[in-house]
């Protein structure tokens, strides 16, 4: 069986010392190679701030480096610092929480600061497939664009939703009329094509009426 080899390495218990040791070992390398800086905001865990241009290199290094094997992407988090007390940096940040399944003391969060004017981060959805949906969520909630993402659509909100709700300047009480489902056929066809099928013809009742679809069926 192909996954037998994985079971040889049994998980070990993460102690505070082991965590400290991992941070001390990996931080100088990240500093010298990728210009990473330890984030002092995270006084409880281990977070590094890197430049957006270096993000993919850092993730690749942590994932494929034989020493570390930080092999699981847990979460992609967007943060909006608009109006944050005594904060002067770029408005947004995208944070990636990673861990090693086989050595739980190796947990690291990578933080990329994103300015409002640029609002772009390179995608890591080709490195970790789960990042596809997680990045879609961040785009949906914050409007941060993930460059080269294969299918950057809204994940949780409706397709016709206006704005990005988790931004601090989006009022919590704001209401919108929303009524459509995602139109999944284009995605389904893309999926078929990825599997080597070629679409010859579609039935006419399933060809979308783009206007009706994007404006929704409920009119104010």
């Amino acid at each position: 069986m192909s996954h037998c080899e994985n079971r040889v390495e049994t998980p070990v218990v993460a102690t505070a010392e082991a965590r400290q040791e991992f941070a001390e070992k990996v931080l100088p390398i990240l500093e010298s190679r990728f210009g990473a800086v330890r984030d002092e905001d995270d006084q409880w865990g281990f977070t590094v701030v890197v430049d957006g241009a270096q993000l993919r290199n850092v993730v690749l290094f942590l994932r494929d480096g034989h020493e570390y094997r930080v092999n699981m992407l847990l979460d992609v988090v967007g943060v909006d610092y608009l109006g944050f007390k005594d904060y002067t940096g770029p408005r947004f940040a995208v944070e990636y929480a990673l861990k090693s399944v086989y050595n739980p003391s190796r947990r690291i969060r990578i933080k990329v600061r994103v300015s409002e004017t640029d609002c772009k981060v390179p995608t890591i959805s080709d490195l970790f497939p789960i990042a596809n949906w997680q990045e879609r969520e961040v785009w949906d909630q914050y409007g941060i664009v993930f460059e080269n993402h294969p299918d950057l659509r809204r994940l949780l909100n409706h397709a016709e939703f206006q704005g990005h709700p988790l931004r601090k300047d989006y009022p919590a009480h704001k209401r919108q009329w929303l009524s459509t489902n995602d139109f999944l056929l284009p995605e389904l066809e893309a999926r078929l094509e990825a599997k080597g099928y070629k679409i010859i013809s579609r039935s006419k009742e399933v060809v979308p009426d783009a206007e009706e679809y994007l404006t929704g069926s409920i009119k104010q």
């Binding site: 998980p11 995270d42 847990l74 861990k99 789960i130 919590a172 995602d182 599997k195 010859i200 399933v206």
Partner: protein, 397 residues
Amino acid sequence: MIVLAPNGEQQSLMPLNVGPSHGATHGCLRYMTALDGENIVASVGEIGYLHRGFEKMAEQGTWQQVIPYTDRLNYCSALMNNFAYCRAVEQMLGIDLPERAKVLRVIINELSRIADHFICVAAAAQDLGSTTGFFYLFDSREMIMVIWEKLTGARLTNSYGRIGGLYRDTYTGFEEDVLAVCRQVDKNLHDVHACFDRNRIFLDRTTGVGKISAERAIQWGWTGPCLRATGVASDLRKDEPYFDYETYDWDVTVGSEGDVFDRLMVRLAEAEESCKIIKQALKRLQPGPINVDDPRIRVPDHAHTYQDMESLIGRFKTVYEGIHVPAGEYYSGSEVANGELGFTLVSDGSGKPWRVKVRPPCLTQFAVFHELVEGVLLADSMATLSSLNIIAGELDR
């Protein structure tokens, strides 16, 4: 739609929409399949039907006011979500809980885990047509619900965790009720195994269906029983122990194949291990305080409030201003029934959270659902879906 298959053959595929309101989609989720006869050739999913803006609402209130929202995440094991959130905030505050609070949290965590796993397996059994299995498992789950009712005042969206302790102490007779649940769980497990283990229909419907390899599961960020079913012994209660889990004697259950059968059986075996933990925890349960003794964190009780100026101030301050969590950012993951429930918290030092981000364990499982069901029958996709235990409340937040 007419397609040209990779083998050069022309096929007529039918796009079929499943959900969002379908008896087997457990909540509200939707996937669209391209069917060749009854075989699924390709599938894509959509979520968001239960999106209620948890994260936006969490930013509006104080740290304590987030707690009732957390029970709406995974409503099958609401109290466990409470504790996961409270634990994250407590770590930022740097406080340690009194012994009784920790033991009670362990007992309630494990009872929730049993209830959650039983609902998952029961619903899977129901989807496969086994109503008997469903009722066997709901038997002990109902007893747990009665405990919740007595303990918290509600059956489903109940909340019992508080930052720095618990809502209140247990009722008289709690220990006996919990022991009775353990006995009932043993009995129900015995019945259910008798029902399933040598059942030709059940085995045919579940073995080898919806398979995923360990590598693939890790790449897709799977945690919890679904990852363990692929053979990876990863459990945060063992790996990064909290609430003194390391001092209890229990084992991590792993499967080998990563198919529907393994996922369901891992859950049943975990319920057994949970019973072991509960029985040990009950022996440790001694009378004592259940809250940290700090009026700035845990609201002082009435007796003190009416007697003592400091407690009165503490009561006003914690309720009106909220708890002052030190400024900073933190990610904390706890092992809930479905896997690693993570909270990324950003605090600006005031009484309100700046950002609360939930990492729902079942999002990662549903994101790869298309890979699991491509190539199986449409009916098997139902079995696969229920074995993943997708909880829409947690998936969509």
